[in-house]
Point group: C2
Chain length 370, copies 2
């Protein structure tokens, strides 16, 4: 256990990207070579989608987008909290899992259509807890209804020896279409003068949970610590991830096509640098930090550079839009229940994010995704 009076950073919390990244690069290269296989059917890939959050293929009348996404380790928090409170949190966990897939799929301009469930348990026993199983099913259905997608089916394997006993590995795949094709958003229209609209998050979402769990270990009351608003740390962490597809679909109905989108997940606000173009992203207004993220920043003693570079800090999704649409984008988001603000603008200059109110800058070298 680390000392309570020392800072706790994400690097201490577990995942070593130096080991994963060489495999990722090799996989990306091999994958890129397979794009030409689509020519056998008269189709082609949108190579600009390589490196983006979802893969896009041109199948003629429209583009096809697809993705598979893992929830991560948020279930470990849910399992610990279930022991402490007797409640099941798997309805929210289901929404989190679908959000991981849907919120990535929509970044390229896709309308999500079909979701598949991947629920791999450590043994048949896992599925025998009826309350938890029912919560997972009900939450999954509800999230599909919110996103207006069909739940196509899925897999419920029991993987003793691979998945840990009593645990479940949750993921979702999602398929959608970009229709009309003009809705494609892979950043070619992104440019100087665009406004940056940030959509509110509900809390930590599903990234940064390793750090959150480390912090729980050193809090005397653990997940039951009051974060200052009467809510426990565990309950606040388990707020389900916001589903953003109602916003992008509502925008499409108004004819507003974002120039680019970034799902603010791992790497926090460094994700604003996602597109390879050399542009400066100047943030001049900040969304409210959610209470649980403010609590984590304080308790982990993270400076703003570390906090905003790791966690979403209140901004779950970024839309880069023509400046004249910015205010309308905010209104549309709010009309579907998601607070939003015009947070900044795109400028010419070196590739970096400048968070003016905090004096924080992230350079291009601080986000290496390709």
């Amino acid at each position: 256990m680390t000392q309570a009076n020392t800072p706790l950073t994400y690097d201490q919390a577990g995942v070593n990207y130096d080991l994963i990244d060489p495999l990722k690069v090799a996989a990306q290269r091999a994958a890129a070579e397979t794009g030409s296989n689509l020519a056998a059917y008269g189709f082609s890939e949108m190579s600009a989608s390589r490196g983006e959050s979802a893969y896009v293929a041109d199948v003629g009348p429209f583009y096809l987008a697809s993705i598979v996404e893992c929830l991560g380790t948020k279930t470990l928090v849910a399992d610990d909290m279930a022991k402490l409170t007797g409640k099941s949190y798997y309805d929210g966990i289901a929404q989190d899992t679908i959000a991981m897939a849907v919120n990535d799929l929509i970044t390229v301009g896709a309308t999500p259509l079909v979701v598949q469930a991947y629920w791999a348990a450590g043994g048949s026993d896992w599925f025998g807890d009826k309350v938890r199983a029912q919560a997972l099913v009900a939450g999954w259905k509800k999230a599909c209804d919110v996103c207006q997608v069909a739940w196509g089916g899925g897999e419920t394997p029991a993987l003793a020896g691979i998945v840990a006993d009593g645990r479940v590995d949750l993921a979702a795949s999602c398929t959608g279409i970009i229709n009309p094709k003009t809705r494609l958003s892979v950043g070619d229209k992104l440019g100087v003068g665009d406004a940056i609209v940030l959509l509110a998050s509900s809390g930590i979402h599903a990234n940064g949970l390793s750090l959150a769990r480390k912090l729980a270990e050193r809090l005397p009351q653990g997940y039951l610590t009051d974060i200052g608003n009467g809510q426990t740390y565990g309950d606040a962490l388990l707020a389900p991830t916001v589903l953003y597809s109602p916003v992008t679909e509502a925008l499409a109905k108004e004819g507003i096509i974002p120039h680019y989108c970034a799902n603010v997940t791992g790497h926090g606000w460094r994700k604003l640098l996602r597109h390879p173009k050399a542009l400066t992203y100047r943030i001049t207004a900040l969304p409210e930090k959610t209470p649980v993220l403010a609590f984590m920043q304080r308790e982990c003693q993270l400076d703003d550079h570390e906090a905003y570079g790791t966690l979403n800090m209140g901004a779950g999704f970024a839309l880069y839009v023509a400046a004249e649409h910015a205010q309308r984008v905010v209104e549309v988001s709010q009309s579907v229940g998601i607070p939003a603000l015009v947070a900044g603008r795109v400028e010419s200059g070196p590739k970096r994010v400048i968070i003016e109110p905090l004096n924080v800058v992230y350079g291009a070298e601080e986000l290496q995704l390709r």
Copy 2:
């Protein structure tokens, strides 16, 4: 450890479906209710695909098919064998994983287009084994090339605490289209007089591995046991699953549309009963058992009813076709390197499979998938 002189059945080998099935049924019901969400886009689901191996939605110019599939526990055999031989088997394991998804997707008449990789490891360390990582990437790419699909991308999470240390949970999602729509095969054309063509398997494929591992535990030489043809049990088990999409694509080019297809996976030949119609499937000729399945049947002391009801016994995929096309289907399969035979026919009568040469019958009650 069980005694070597007693039979070893699948029921002893681990998975308790009584615990999983109530959740599955609840999930299927909830999922079915979401199909109407597609109406928001002017689309609809093919409800006949509910209960089939892949989900199908009507998106206008063609049908969209999608799926996510888990490899299962075959990696545990690969990991044990790697310790014994120093070799990596993950190129074949990659093919197995893709086969699980592609071979299911094609049953509904779909052309697979895009595969996504889901490689969830027990920790970052897993990805640090360069030989294994390279084999996984190379095998994944090769299988995509064989199936002429684009490898869109995927997820490589490190899930310490969820996936067991040193292990990996492998899955694949696949998206395809049914184009022209007349290629849809969900069984409406299945009927009396159809021929049943069986395509050869390469071995155990990726179902029945729990039983295979149990057997290894009680063999004095374990995975290094010679199965009678100079091959070790472990090497034979790890023969990669046959990819069947080259057959269905070649058939489509000849204008041959199967009336129905069944991927012979879990439940072995009971899968021939997959479609809900009340029909009798009479098998009059058997494919060669692969050596490893003959070995397992002998060593586990499985009678034919148990063996054919659990393992593929040499038949990895079944095509139900118009009788006049049967011989041509065999030739087309052989032309892409996959042995095949006209094994039987569809007759009127109660829902059952009759394997005449073995005096084995499976009734409808022996396969409950819906």
